[in-house]
Symmetry: C2
Subunit: 815 residues, 2 copies
């Protein structure tokens, strides 16, 4: 069954009942201030780093799962009854409910007993604050005396410390209340120069800043004492749990609507201007007051919302398509692109499944994510590339993660994930193709963020390959290191105690035997891409070098990485094959099949086709393609984390969606548009909307994993939003199925669409030029004939107009 | 107002209303299996290590604060209404409620609509399991058809990972259900060899193991779907959140009582016998089944409870007193001793204020805690000493903390807290005085837990002093290092960024200037104690050495550590005085006043009296003695964390109870029993029971901190249970006010009691001999005349009977 519907025109998903199978969230904020927001107003906010600058408190895996958030209570003062327009936390029956998750905003509306209320939550562009734009209408025939209460619970900044260190934290909480604005300033007295504030457009009847004063003893968010009694405590928090609650009394005539704007903001003062007066302990509010005043005025709120809309129109306008398939359209035009921006902003930090205190930005993740957002925010992609490259070592190896606040490599994890360096090449190549900005190759970038070690970015790319060459195993394949793309295939760790890292345990082996066929395929691709970069950048000597390396590794993979019906996955520490018919379990893995074909291995000699047929035969299910088969039924210490999962979940034969698009792309490379789009549809959230009770996660974004056929819950999705699936499915759909992809010398138009499609149209903004593309099918094949501005051209690449024209009309005929 | 009362005879605190100002908890378990249990059945359980072997989930700082626990629901199947006898989680009005917190058990009872139910929670001695011994009585005139539901939510073992790593953990949960027993086996398939189990004495009507199946979507513990509908889901958890819920239908005749025993257990299998059959993935249950069978039988439960009672009778029987002051009696006889066992078991790991995932065992903490429990469990104290000493470095310095599972020093914190080594001497000396077991001095103990480095324990004590001698500052006082006893006085760290450790930041100074007068006092005492050890152990050469060192440091403290009216606290990194009239804030600190007097400094020349008078004048409040004055109103980077707290809280002029007994002891040393007992009473929880609304924490155990006079909440307590206050107040009350203290050559009886007391009686078991002590006041002074078994003796030390008698009668007359 469904819990809502897509409003494609409005670019919104409309949730029509609040009891979704999981919290169905949205993100607000896309620059420095971010928030998670569920359809029932749950979630929390942070500034830049979900762990270190948490503004409001999140309790993960709560009971109920999603409890605590940006709540507003509407109390009928006539009888003391109250409800929340977001259903949570009060719950109980509403006469009407909806949540519209849009691009960077959500509107949550609820009605009860003739009182209709609605809140639009969003973060204005260029500001470090969030708006709760609340309206309430009296639909009764008589007047209504209402009390409106808002509540936000502050986090004491460091979310990990906040959740564990109560013997300190219950004594440190501090607030100030001035001009009806609540300032949360815990630790501002000492080393912090930042604070949060909560303001309201209306005159307050009362307020609370101490949680227990608002809630009353032993009461939950569903029944706060202040709301039940219709009276705030005007409490000032001294330690314990600071909150911000406003109370506004309203008298509404029949039919009357009132609007209240609540604003939660973050502000940093210069360190030498923290206090006012300077020798006091009172926050200097001079610099933040203009912002507060601005957003207490609804006019400015309206303008900010319009600007937000415009921002997303621009971003999504970079590519818009109209195909015969509604799921493809809404994912490409709206939701998948939107999800790509989320993975750019959040990496893997904060979602229903990511607590925001675990991981930094992944080297591998972020380079891949780039495939999904470089066309929308090329300037920010450029900075991301430079940040990533700066965490590379002089050896060409790389930190596996880096911290978003410091941009320094994470020492706890370290390096030695031997696929990492290759992804930098792939990310940079994509950036260059999209932007043509070759100046980035000359940017001076340090190693290990150490000043004085700077070399041009291009040299970093060369080091990536050098690292691979320095780490070749007995069969001539790349050594796997701690793990390759599959973080859970750990061939050198031999972890036997709980709590040990599966990836980072050192010393069990010398690391010189276990090899990855997957990295072999990846290296073929990265060498080809680096040759492409070299060619485009005018370094012809390097072109040959890297093409030769690609050719050599291609041969090695075909010789030592082929199992007869499919590509092997790896050799373990004992030189034993993994992902082979010789194995009892884990005979065939998805990753090398998809990626070797993408790299072009075996495309000529038929092994590629054979590999993909094996995928179809052994791994494909109606809910997507599982990672391997047969699932591991027990723990294999020599394989590591992959076998730690129950069969059918995660890497142990779950449908790990991230690598499904590799097979999709591979199928397009082999010309099989039907199969490619079929695989796409199986994991496509929109196409799974009808089975929301099984799928559970949001039907508007991809999930990392869908339980595989060995799992009792086959088809159940987990880990939505923050997954490499976003970028790769977007890339597969736009660049390979629809075939519109950036190249150094123009925009390629080379669709490999289903036979049943009669064509499609698309608009693509590429290097400032708008390409209006119309594709028509004249035959069942994939042969492309292009007409550009009325003139037939050879090949499938549309060059940029030489005359500086800003639009190009492209007509493609498939036959 | 009060929320209950002491039942002194039963050794119980009886809570009569559930809405206590904070969760008022008890601990169950005192060997390897432990649980926190609030008066409303909240809390969680673990095996040995609250972080790494968490059995059930705890959500700290929840809303409500204490939500989640060991809940039982009683449902009236006639109308579907239900309640929890523990009030939480259902809440609502009960017709009757009580919680009896006893020694290692709690009995929580509730009644509604003629159905009375009661649960006794405890952990049997020698077992790794907890019992929920539930009885229900139908007090109605007609029959009642009831459904009883139990619920426990499993933690996936590592409490930190469990609370943050959902992208993995939501896929790993696994259970088995066999013979109506629920086995929680998450990660058993891989590196773990332990599991939890939940069993019931009755035939089940149904069960649940998947949390959301039990709760239903978007429902909380207060209204689970299974309970509301009167039907379990018989669910099997695959991932998500495994729980254990039993459903038992009962038909009760009028007046009938039924008993149901629920048991939650932990079991470890040998690594080579994990599965049955061996090549399966099914838990081998052969070794645990006898235990399960045993405790499903109520007869064995009764026997286990009787054994638990007997254990506590023995432990508390080591000292029992009858004084004119009810607070002194109940604290010494019951609650303070009980709290000392809690600090032995838990160190600072798990309480309402300690999340159980933060800290290991503190070197300093654990040595001091020993003062409170060595007389009860000398064998376990012996092992603790050896474990602590093994984390000392060859330099004599020590790791500041060690991990309870590995017993290895904690590298994150490291060493350099220069008071640490001295506490080992004080702990060992106390152990020797209590037990006379000098064999411990010859035990071979390694440095830094490194095999091959073992030296006799006595040599460790010598190294402690050597470390001090190697770390002397410009005035001849001990260098302070990272911090001394006051972890928040950080003179070498200069922390200026949020998130930096206040204690462990290195490199700001060379550490060779800042000195601690407190450690000076501590060193005088530790040198004297080591001289005492040497003397008693027959090492006369060392006696002189250490007495000379004590004398030298005594002179140094009086010369460079005296401010005119009180002892200085320290010299900072610039050689500037701290805790001096020359300072604007922090002019006088409590620690050196109490401890220097305990060490005997200035007792002869009147400076000790002067120092204590200054404490009384500047630091004493009606709620206890604050740590320093005036409070720091701003952050001083050169002082560190102490100035990070708002004034009046924690070390920044809060009443940090731990050091109040130092002043109490000091007052007895100067013969001032009235002042000593007055200070004792100010922080004594029982004496503060009437002001529970202000005090907030449990009135049966000491809290670490009571807000000082600079705080808006002066008198409000925080951080109950796990505090060094427990040991020191017990030691101050028994060994100094009542004056009954262990010495090498006998039991000293030298009371310094209030003038108004006409005497007291006491029983003290010392080295296997029971001393029946009767003290009578004949005059207002502290002069003691002792009669032992009818014969007057000189001095105040009662020797052990030479004839092997097991009882000694001691009469003391004060004049």
């Amino acid at each position: 069954m469904k819990y809502g519907y897509f409003d494609d025109k409005a670019r919104e998903y409309v949730i029509t009942r609040p009891d979704t199978p999981m919290p169905w969230i949205n993100y607000i904020g896309c620059e420095g201030y971010f928030g998670i927001l569920s359809a029932t107003a749950g979630g929390y906010s942070y500034y830049k780093d979900a762990r270190l600058r948490r503004l409001t408190r999140g309790r993960y895996n709560n009971v109920p799962l999603d409890f605590g958030g940006r709540y507003i209570y509407v109390r009928d003062n006539a009888d003391g009854s109250f409800f929340s327009p977001s259903w949570m936390p009060v719950r109980g029956k509403l006469d009407d409910y909806s949540c519209r998750h849009g691009m960077g905003y959500s509107v949550i509306s609820g009605k009860k007993n003739g009182i209709a209320a609605s809140t639009r939550y969003f973060v204005p562009m260029g500001e470090n604050l969030e708006i709760w734009d609340f309206t309430v209408t009296n639909e009764r025939a008589e007047s209504a005396d209402l009390s409106i209460f808002s509540i936000a619970e502050f986090c004491l900044w460091d979310a990990q410390d906040d959740a564990t260190n109560f013997q300190r934290n219950f004594s440190t909480g501090q607030v100030e209340v001035e001009d009806e604005v609540i300032y949360h300033k815990t630790e501002y007295r000492e080393r912090r120069n930042h604070f949060a504030w909560f303001a309201c457009s209306e005159k307050l009847t009362g307020f609370d800043t101490q949680r227990e004063a608002f809630l009353g003893p032993w009461r939950g968010w569903e029944d706060p004492k202040a709301v039940a009694e219709g009276k705030s405590g005007d409490s000032i928090a001294h330690g314990w749990q600071p909150v911000a609650s406003n109370h506004i009394k309203l008298s509404l005539k029949p039919g009357e609507t009132r609007r209240i704007v609540f604003v939660l903001g973050y502000h940093e003062n210069p360190r030498d201007q923290k206090f006012d007066p300077p020798n006091s302990q009172t926050i200097n509010k001079k610099l933040v007051k203009p912002t507060i005043a601005k957003f207490r005025d609804p006019k400015n709120v309206d303008a900010a919302f319009a600007a937000l809309k415009e921002n997303w129109d621009t971003l999504l306008g970079k590519i818009q398509v109209q195909t015969p398939d509604v799921h493809t359209d809404r994912m490409v035009n709206v939701w998948n692109a939107y999800q790509c921006m989320a993975t750019f902003n959040m990496s893997r930090s904060a979602s229903t499944f990511e607590s925001g205190i675990g991981r930094g930005l992944g080297f591998r993740d972020s380079n891949q994510d780039l495939l999904g957002f470089v066309h929308m925010v090329p300037e920010r992609a450029r900075q991301r590339i430079l940040d990533l490259a700066a965490t590379q070592f002089a050896s060409g190896g790389a930190y596996h993660q880096y911290q978003p606040m410091t941009k320094k490599g994470n020492n706890d994890i370290g390096g030695g994930f031997n696929d990492d360096p290759h992804w930098l090449i792939i990310g940079v190549a994509q950036y260059l193709k999209e932007t043509g900005d070759f100046s980035i190759l000359d940017e001076k970038v340090p190693f290990d963020t150490t000043p004085g070690t700077e070399v041009p970015l291009y040299e970093h790319l060369r080091r990536s390959i050098q690292y691979a060459l320095d780490n070749i195993g007995p069969h001539g394949l790349p050594l796997i290191g701690q793990a390759d793309w599959n973080d859970c295939l750990n061939l050198n760790c031999f972890s036997d105690e709980p709590g040990q890292s599966f990836q980072c345990l050192k010393g069990a082996t010398d690391g010189k035997t276990a090899e990855s066929v997957f990295i072999g395929g990846l290296m073929v691709l990265s060498c080809k891409e680096l040759a492409g970069v070299a060619k485009a950048a005018g370094k012809p000597g390097d072109v040959e070098t890297y093409l030769e390396l690609a050719q050599k590794m291609d041969e090695t993979v075909r010789k030592h990485g082929w199992d007869g019906e499919w590509f092997l996955r790896a050799y373990d520490n004992f030189g034993k094959k993994i992902g082979s018919h010789e194995n009892e379990e884990g005979k065939i893995y998805i990753e090398p099949q998809g990626f070797c074909v993408i790299a072009g291995i075996g495309v000529e000699d038929g092994t590629a086709r054979k590999a993909l047929d094996s995928v179809n035969k052994h791994l494909a299910t109606k809910h997507g393609i599982v990672l391997q088969q047969p699932a591991y039924t027990r723990y294999y210490i020599e394989l590591g984390e992959i076998s730690s999962y129950p069969p059918g979940y995660k890497e142990n034969a779950g449908i790990f969606c991230h690598n499904n698009p590799w097979v999709i792309i591979a199928e397009t490379i082999l010309g099989n548009g039907d199969q490619a789009h079929d695989y796409y549809t199986r994991i496509c959230p929109s196409a799974r909307e009808e089975i929301s009770d099984l799928h559970k996660n949001e039907p508007y974004v991809f999930s990392q994993m869908i339980a595989g056929k060995d799992a009792p819950t086959h088809g159940e999705a987990k880990n939505s939003w923050l997954t490499g699936t976003a970028a790769w499915t977007f890339f597969a759909a736009t660049a390979y199925i629809l075939g519109i992809r950036a190249e150094y010398d123009g925009l390629r138009v080379q669709p490999v669409i289903p036979k049943a499609w009669d064509g499609f149209t698309a608009t693509r903004v590429f290097r400032g030029v708008t390409f209006d593309i119309s594709v028509k099918r004249a035959g069942k094949g994939n042969r492309v004939a292009l007409t550009v501005d009325g003139k037939a051209i050879d090949g499938t690449i549309v060059p940029l107009p030489k005359d500086g024209a800003k639009t190009v009309k492209v007509e493609a005929v498939l036959s």
